[in-house]
């Protein structure tokens, strides 16, 4: 325990409120006070206009320097990170941005994690590849404002014009008089000054960036991670804490019919058995219910759970069966569905086309399986609740806990720990809700709920299952003339609304209604119905996975049918360089971005194709059994393209000697983390293409742990991954996301490479043993 009786988390993660003994001069958290004038984000002024980007998110964007920056009398700069860290490096990238505009010396910067508080920090929902895309501009403003306040304070003390004082590398300098002093000397005075108006801020020119865009920045959490001191959700320890696991309904919508806990209660260390109400369908973020065991340690709870006798009422999804459901989806895509994008006369053009293909692609459910399964700890004292959790959406957690405990939201505090992986799973706070209900069941004592791997896999919010049918045609010269895509996949909307049968605009807008194929005159996209029978949730890059998989495999199939090179066919489909407003194509969500600013820019899409083709030496001759595959995709306002090289032995054994991936997300703030996100996306994409599958039988997930839900291991990882940055220093481009866009092109590039190497076209994921036996 630490001195204040709290959890022994590293100081970096201690909530700011506990730091009262430090004399912060820019009062961190002061943004919540009345004097928080803040800086209105530019677009927030236009009340009537539709808001885009971070301004359009709940809570909007905040840029008050007093919220995000504290400077100690000794000059130590503390920067608040308000986004969830789950491996994307945001705890390193956020301070890079602020420290740069502040002119701080990075070695004197510390990072602290903000609690969940949307009103103070702005939107904190860490998904959708949004953190830097949205926070770059406001964080720059916060840093620049603080710098100007320091300059003004020094100028006043030295009785010189403010315009003559400059902050340079953690010092304030008056060149004329030769006066200089550290930040600490003027922090107190600066904090009393008004925050400068947005219009008066002097943001740095890109050429003057010290940290932004510079490669090789060490992760701020490196020391803690390599010594085991980093605090993830599962590592939280509180005085008097109890440990819980829950036996949840194995079928979505199921409930406990009867249970017998006698044997479980006899396990030494067991404190209490608590039945939890089952969740209605749709369950949204509600806990699934079941029978909870509360014990003195995790193992006792797990052992006792084994001894529970439970009879389940499986409810309406008891019949969910993956093989049968695939047949349902196949039937759906073989008939016309709801029209969602249309150009030309696709059916007639298909009829006439001399070269054509018709192909169906199946992408099964997958489970997120972050290495740290969901874990949360909750304590309730004096009508207030505190939660510690690895959560991507702290505000959603706050809302849920307030609802479950019938507390005002202000009485709920969410402390963000590091996340041992998220991938979208931890955007859903159901597991934190369980901890809250269980803490309440033991008079508010702290309770940590741990999900075992089995819990995590069996009761995931699964990535959707999808059947994608594409019919495409090329003319006698091999030019593409028609493209028909039917997509059938249960929508994430089914979590929130009953009878949801169609993908929502935001889902169809992940690579379909916004598809950057303008070189084909007839293009039609339809969305037949698909009902959900389990919890469907966001998985890294979401509907881009099935949409890009089908589209980019079909490109290579059409090329083959027309006797052309797949890269040339891809470029023909994309067409000549142009910028298209996606809202002119279909009802578009465009990842929340302004469709006139974040256009579908085919020059950039072509650019990543060209870059990756060049780097991989596309078209080179390869020995027998080797092949190259290519794919490109726009997602989260970023453009990526991948070339995968495979080697398939006579017995079907597959090896991946090399992967090249190009990314154009505009200006790269932290190139080192962009690279690592691309490497991770490549490996996760390979893993899901080759191995990833959750099947359902009798309503239940068949796979339960890493022996049957297998993932790529180091011996299956590519020998080399090369990441190629495109437009990485062009600050004039609208920023794109980084965490997710690397994934979508990888599975189709891999399957196209397998075809090139073997002549075998695999349309059902995962590949698994489909290469064996010729």
């Amino acid at each position: 325990m630490s001195a204040d009786g709290q959890i022994p988390v590293k100081p970096l993660d201690v909530p700011i409120a506990n730091e009262s003994r430090r004399a912060f001069l820019f009062g961190l958290g002061a943004g919540a006070l009345v004097l928080a004038v803040g800086l209105p984000a530019p677009r927030a002024l236009a009340q009537e206009a539709k808001k885009y980007g971070g301004d359009g998110m709940p809570g909007g964007l905040k840029d008050d320097p007093r919220t995000f920056i504290a400077i100690d009398a000794d000059g130590t700069v503390t920067i608040l990170n308000h986004r969830a860290e789950m491996g994307q490096g945001v705890r390193t990238s956020v301070p890079m941005i602020v420290a740069d505009e502040l002119e701080a010396d990075f070695s004197r910067v510390r990072v602290r994690q903000a609690p969940g508080d949307q009103e103070t920090y702005g939107n904190q929902n860490t998904d959708g590849s949004r953190s830097i895309r949205h926070a770059f501009a406001p964080l720059r403003r916060a840093g620049a404002a603080a710098r100007q306040m320091l300059e003004a304070a020094a100028a006043a003390a030295w009785a010189v014009p403010a315009s003559e004082v400059r902050a340079v590398n953690h010092e304030l300098v008056h060149a004329k008089s030769g006066k200089r002093a550290g930040f600490g000397a003027f922090a107190e005075a600066a904090a009393k000054l008004p925050v400068p108006e947005a219009a008066t801020l002097r943001l740095k020119a890109a050429k003057d960036f010290r940290y932004i865009g510079k490669d090789g920045r060490a992760l701020v959490d490196n020391d803690d991670i390599v010594t085991g001191k980093a605090t993830f959700g599962i590592d939280v320890r509180l005085d008097g804490m109890l440990y819980a696991v829950v036996a949840r309904p194995p079928v979505y919508g199921g409930r406990v019919r009867t249970h017998d806990a006698k044997a479980a209660l006899a396990v030494p260390g067991v404190v209490k058995v608590v039945p939890l109400d089952g969740a209605p369908i749709p369950s949204a973020f509600l806990p699934l219910g079941g029978i909870a065991i509360i014990a003195e340690n995790t193992w006792a709870a797990i052992e006792a759970r084994r001894k529970l006798a439970i009879e389940w009422d499986d409810g309406p999804n008891a019949g969910y069966d993956s093989a049968a459901y695939r047949a349902t989806l196949e039937t759906a895509v073989r008939a016309p569905g709801k029209l969602v994008r249309d150009a030309g006369d696709t059916y007639a053009a298909l009829e006439r086309a001399p070269n054509k293909i018709a192909a169906e692609y199946y992408i099964p459910h997958i489970a997120h399986a972050p290495m740290e399964a969901p874990v949360a700890t909750v304590r309730i004292t004096d009508g207030a609740c505190e939660a510690w959790a690895s959560v991507q959406a702290p505000e959603a957690a706050r809302t849920l806990l307030a609802e479950l405990l019938k507390l005002p939201k202000e009485k709920v505090t969410i402390h963000q720990t590091l996340l041992g992986g998220g991938f979208g799973r931890k955007s859903k706070p159901d597991f934190i809700g369980e901890a809250a209900l269980l803490s309440k069941a033991v008079d508010g004592k702290p309770v940590k709920v741990t999900w075992t791997r089995e819990d995590d896999i069996v009761n995931d919010y699964f990535h959707t299952v999808a059947l994608e049918r594409i019919e495409a045609g090329a003319d006698a010269k091999g030019k593409p003339v028609a493209w028909l895509h039917r997509t059938a996949a249960p929508s994430i909307g089914s979590l929130f609304g009953p009878d949801t049968k169609h993908q929502r605009a935001g889902e169809l807008g992940q690579g379909l209604t916004d598809l950057g194929f303008f070189g084909v005159p007839n293009l039609r996209i339809e969305n037949p119905e698909a009902a959900a029978h389990t919890r469907i949730g966001w998985f890294r890059s979401v509907y881009n996975i099935p949409h890009a998989f089908a589209t980019q495999c079909a490109v290579a199939e059409l090329a083959h049918a027309a006797g052309r090179d797949p890269k040339d066919m891809l470029l023909d489909l994309i067409g000549s360089p142009r910028q298209v407003d996606p809202s002119t194509l279909a009802e578009a969500s465009n990842y929340g971005e302004d469709p006139k600013v974040h256009t579908v820019d085919t020059a950039r899409l072509r650019g990543v194709v060209d870059a990756v083709a060049k780097a991989s030496r596309w078209g080179r001759t390869l020995p027998k059994g080797r092949g190259l595959g290519i794919a490109a995709h726009r997602s989260f306002a970023t453009y990526t393209a991948a070339v995968v090289e495979v080697e398939v032995a006579a017995d079907g054994t597959l090896r991946i000697p090399r992967v090249d991936i190009a990314i154009d997300c505009g200006l790269q703030i932290n190139p080192e983390r962009v690279r690592s996100q691309m490497e991770g996306s490549v490996i996760q994409g390979i893993s899901l293409a080759l191995l990833g599958e959750i099947r359902f039988a009798k309503g239940r997930a068949v796979q339960t742990n890493f022996h049957d839900y297998t993932l790529t291991r180091i011996d299956g990882a590519p020998a080399e991954i090369h990441v190629h940055a495109v437009n990485a220093t062009d600050a004039s481009l609208p920023l794109g996301g980084v965490g997710e866009p690397g994934l979508p092109p990888v599975p189709p590039a891999l399957l196209n490479a397998i075809f090139a190497a073997t002549g075998k076209r695999i349309r059902t994921l995962p590949v698994r043993d489909q290469l064996r036996g010729g």
Binding site: M86, N297, L418, F423, S676, N705
Partner: protein
């Protein structure tokens, strides 16, 4: 009373000797650096050293550790400066970092047995350690760098 020696310190243990060492370390001894990933020796997140050899703590009962010396990530080096830890930092191997304690303990054990491993050696020994974030190519590079840092070889 039985004791378990962890990182050179004796811890008293009164509970059920069948308790997996993982849960003793995390819940009883408060050493949370060793992670839970699967509980079935499938992922390597819980890798510790038992008398210097990489072992999965999730399937090792406390009873098996009573006569052995247990080393966890917290005890791998005094200042976090084991060559493997240094190499991991230098190459920014971690993404979320959750698997990395196990990866580092496995890699340190590998280098003890094979001071100059090839990529094939690395793949064979490290294949028990899952990383969902996909840091494998950097893990390979970092192990080679740790060899250099150990001084003997390149």
């Amino acid at each position: 009373m039985p004791t378990i020696n962890v990182n050179g310190r004796d811890h008293a243990f009164e509970g059920n000797p069948e308790m997996p060492l993982l849960w003793f370390l995390r819940d009883v001894a408060g050493l949370t650096g060793t992670k839970f990933g699967c509980g079935m020796a499938l992922c390597g997140a819980c890798t510790i050293h038992l008398d210097g050899v990489a072992t999965r703590a999730c399937v090792t009962p406390v009873a098996a550790a009573l006569t052995a010396k247990v080393t966890t990530i917290e005890g791998l080096s005094v200042d976090g400066d084991h060559p493997v830890q240094q190499a991991w930092k230098e190459l920014n191997v971690a993404q979320c970092g959750y698997c990395q304690a196990g990866q580092i303990m496995q890699a340190a054990s590998l280098l003890k047995q094979k001071p100059k491993p090839s990529d094939a050696d690395i793949d064979a020994t490290m294949a028990g350690n899952l990383c969902r974030c996909g840091t494998y190519t950097r893990i390979r590079a970092a192990i080679h760098l740790a060899v250099v840092k150990t001084g003997g070889a390149a």
